[in-house]
């Protein structure tokens, strides 16, 4: 078990280093002076640009620059956002809370719904119901998530007036306690649903295949030969085996759902990373943009490692193959 975890962490380290290098190279993409990328296109106090130029060694060879860049990162210094009058790292972490508030319920919903759809569809492979699950997942893959958000706003907020279209809380009144929680959940419905759709597509497609695969495994015959009912076999034997690839695909797709959440936030004015991202594009606040790329990329690597751990928890064979577990 420990050997397995070390192997997965060993996998993550070079990837993170590669991400850091990519981020460093992006600075040099700005036409003209790379100082722009480190400072942004916002009025800065006099002398700040020169101080940064020295701090990052921009007049020195590229390798020295890379070293100084990494030293700065190691100190948690992702730069300063003059548009927000705040250092980049706490700014992004603060907004990340709201993005997670949007993503995690949506992910949970999608995981449960996707698996339930697949469980219902797979034993009836080839039926009309099964085909429609396949069709739904194809649509989920193709629909632009921000457009889906706009359509939901037009339908449910503007025409039907059932749900709020913008923001995370009602501005007109100040709510406290459970009323405030309910208010946030109320605002969560439409953007959450937008994020969920793509994920349901991913989960349903993989879950359908893995349920079909598990159903055809030999141990299902043993379970049936004991006289267990079909329903019991499906839930107790097929599902735990089918969930392994599903959990994996959910974890590995963390990056996609993060991207989806960012796009959806801009449609619904949800105050998370996505909103910060689009505001920073408008402000040419480059340090924030780079910080968002860096932190989301590292978050995705972490999600991958966590997924691998989950995989080991779900599948005893993985633990076994790396030495006997205690």
């Amino acid at each position: 078990m420990r050997a397995y975890l070390l192997a997965r962490l060993g996998w993550a380290v070079p990837i993170v280093i590669a991400i850091l290098i990519i981020n460093f190279l992006i600075i040099h993409l700005v036409p003209g002076d790379p100082i722009q990328a480190l400072v942004g296109d916002f009025p800065t106090p006099p002398g700040y640009a020169e101080q940064i130029r020295k701090e990052y060694g921009l007049d020195q060879p590229l390798l020295t620059q890379l070293w100084l860049y990494l030293v700065n990162l190691a100190g948690g210094n992702l730069g300063f956002s003059f548009a927000n009058r705040q250092p980049v790292l706490p700014l992004i972490l603060d907004r990340a809370r709201f993005t997670l508030l949007l993503m995690l319920p949506a992910l949970t919903c999608a995981a449960v719904l996707g698996v339930v759809l697949a469980l219902a569809a797979a034993p009836r492979a080839g039926s009309l119901y099964d085909s429609s699950v396949t069709a739904i997942s194809l649509i989920g893959f193709s629909v632009p998530i921000f457009w889906l958000g706009q359509i939901l706003i037009i339908a449910f907020a503007i025409k039907l007036r059932w749900l709020p279209a913008q923001g995370m809380i009602s501005l007109r009144e100040t709510l406290t306690g459970w009323a405030a929680v309910a208010d946030v959940l109320w605002h969560l419905v439409l953007p959450g649903f937008s994020v969920t759709i793509y994920y349901i597509a991913v989960v349903a497609r993989v879950a359908r295949a893995s349920v079909l695969d598990a159903l055809s495994q030999d141990f299902v015959l043993t379970a049936k030969a004991k006289g267990l009912s079909g329903r019991y076999v499906l839930w107790r034997h097929v599902l735990p085996n089918a969930l392994i690839p599903v959990a994996t695909v959910i974890g590995y797709n963390f990056g996609y759902s993060l991207t989806g959440a960012i796009l959806v936030e801009t449609v619904f004015a949800w105050p998370g990373i996505g909103n910060l991202f689009i505001a920073s594009i408008g402000n040419r606040d480059y340090p924030v943009l780079q910080g968002i790329f860096l932190l989301t990329a590292v978050a995705v690597v972490l999600a991958n490692v966590v997924t691998d751990m989950l995989y080991a928890v779900l599948d005893p064979r993985v633990r076994g193959s790396y030495g006997k577990n205690a």
Partner: protein
């Protein structure tokens, strides 16, 4: 009977998608050649709802939405096809080399492609475009940069399979040089799955370009579907048609390329079950 019906339906979906793509190409060419029509033309009939005069309505500057959609086809298809082409060329060459020669080259290529698989591609593309400035060729390059590992992986697997086949050994016995064998025998016989992968990349590229334009990361003087959605966002309440139609165009086009990719994949692989 059921199998036959399934196959027929799958075939028909692929066919319909193919016809739709041909139709889009025709529209793009017609829009380029048609004289005397300017989609940027501003009129005093701003924000008119869909009617006989303007089938899909007009935007806040009085520009016709249908005309915009027609001119937007060109951007979507150009980006989609050129990005897929670039990604395919890069991916085929690198993937073939990795699969054919193996060893450390293979190791390095696989690790690099892993990085691109893990990194959130859209965010990286958006940051690059935001820092380097908008422009179609930049968008194409960024998408190709993000997408080539998919093709390289497909190609690598296929080359590793093909290079072990008997006819390759036969050619080798004739004394043909290794890199000539790679170019004339192995690569041409490994391209089938790549074609399906490339079609799927067209779909991803169109969606990615639209997403970037939706965030405002495209130049304002080029009409594209994503750009139209970006301006539509401000008028969801007064002029929902500004969002509904361009988004639907993106959706259907991406869906078509996805269907086409699936159909190409199963058509080229007679063993596929499903």
């Amino acid at each position: 009977m059921r199998r036959f019906l399934d196959r027929f339906l799958a075939y028909r979906a692929g066919m319909t998608a193919g016809l739709y793509v041909l139709f889009l190409i025709a529209v793009a060419i017609a829009a380029a050649l048609w004289p005397g029509i300017d989609p940027h033309e501003i009129s005093d009939r701003a924000m008119v709802a869909p009617s006989m005069a303007h089938l899909l309505g007009t935007d806040e500057l009085g520009r016709d939405v249908l005309l915009g959609l027609i001119y937007g086809v060109r951007v979507s298809l150009t980006v989609g096809f050129s990005a897929a082409l670039a990604a395919t060329v890069i991916g085929v060459l690198i993937g073939a080399a990795a699969g054919f020669y193996g060893g450390w080259l293979d190791l390095v290529v696989m690790r690099i492609s892993e990085v691109f698989q893990v990194v959130p591609g859209f965010i990286m593309a958006a940051v690059i475009i935001a820092l380097s400035g908008p422009g179609l060729s930049r968008v194409v390059m960024v998408i190709a940069l993000l997408a080539w590992p998919q093709i390289a992986r497909l190609m690598r697997g296929e080359v590793m399979r093909v290079k072990q086949l008997e006819f390759v050994d036969a050619v080798r016995c004739l004394g043909v040089r290794e890199w000539v064998i790679l170019g004339t025998e192995v690569i041409p016989n490994s391209l089938a799955p790549v074609l399906a992968g490339a079609t799927l990349i067209v779909a991803q590229a169109i969606l990615l370009e639209a997403s970037l334009s939706f965030l405002g990361l495209s130049s304002a003087d080029i009409i594209s579907w994503g750009r139209m959605l970006n301006s539509g966002q401000r008028f969801l309440f007064n002029a929902p048609w500004l969002s509904i139609f361009p988004g639907f165009a993106i959706f259907i086009t991406v869906l078509a390329f996805n269907l086409l990719g699936d159909a190409v994949g199963s058509a080229l692989n007679p063993k596929t079950q499903r």
